[in-house]
Structure formats: structure tokens, C-alpha cells
Symmetry: C2
Amino acid sequence: MSLLDYFRSKQKKGSASLAKERLQILVAHERAERNKPSYLRDLQNELLQVVRKYVQVDDQAISVQLEQEGNQEILELNITLPEQRS
Amino acid sequence: MSLLDYFRSKQKKGSASLAKERLQILVAHERAERNKPSYLRDLQNELLQVVRKYVQVDDQAISVQLEQEGNQEILELNITLPEQRS
């Protein structure tokens, strides 16, 4: 199953009851060397700055998670957009 | 299954044979109104500019896909990183 298939299956399941607009960003970083410093935390802040150029949202509308498992780092940004967007 | 679980299951399957460093960005946009213009294509260019601040990669190392299904748009950026990064 590809990542695209995964998003599609999620959409089919929830789209009928979902009214709000939503933006979700997932960043997965697989590192070849375990001891290399990660830039994902800095990247996260810049991604949020870019998103804020396109959508006006409060801080409360954004949830950020950064998880690490071995050489795999996953950054998850969930943004709930206002229903009336300028 | 959450998105994080999905990334985890992918990592377990492929990590043994995978040597290259990889960065993957998925952006999913669920729109409440079908006729609203999408900003995902512009967002894509800015995300790539941000990524290029952190990693030096050729154009050939980046693959971009933008797919649309009803009110669901999915932007997929796959970036293969060089093994020796400055």
C-alpha cells in the first residue's frame, strides 16, 4: 500500500461527516547515520512560517508532533483551517 | 491506524535493506468548498525552497506529485539525500 492509497482510504471513510477544512503535513526523515544531527526541528519552524503565508490560523489550530524511533524521525503538523478564509 | 503507525510499519519493513538517506513530505488538504481555489501548488514551491536550505540536492533527486480526488488534494515530495552531506 502506497502513502497515497493510505490518504485515499482515510478520505473515503471520513469525508461524509467532515465539514471543516484541514491541512496535514507529514515529514519523514530516514537517516543513514545515527549520530548525525537532525535538522527536522528547525525545518518544522520554517514549514509553519510557510503555511502561515497561505492560511491565517491561531496557534491553537496547529498541533505539532515530533517522534523519533531509531533512525526514523517523523514530524506531524495538523492544521484546522477556519471555515471562512480571506 | 494512525498516520504515525503507518510510517512505523513502513520503516520496520524497509530499514534493513535501506542505506540511503531520505526525506519525504506529504501534504494533504481537505477542502470544505469544492470551488475554492487551491494554494497547494504554490505551497509546494515554497516547501521545496525551505527544504533546499537544509539539504543540498539536485533536481533529479526530488520527485513531486500532486493528486486530486474530489475535495482531497495530496502533495507528495520525495527527496533522496546525498550520502555525504555538508
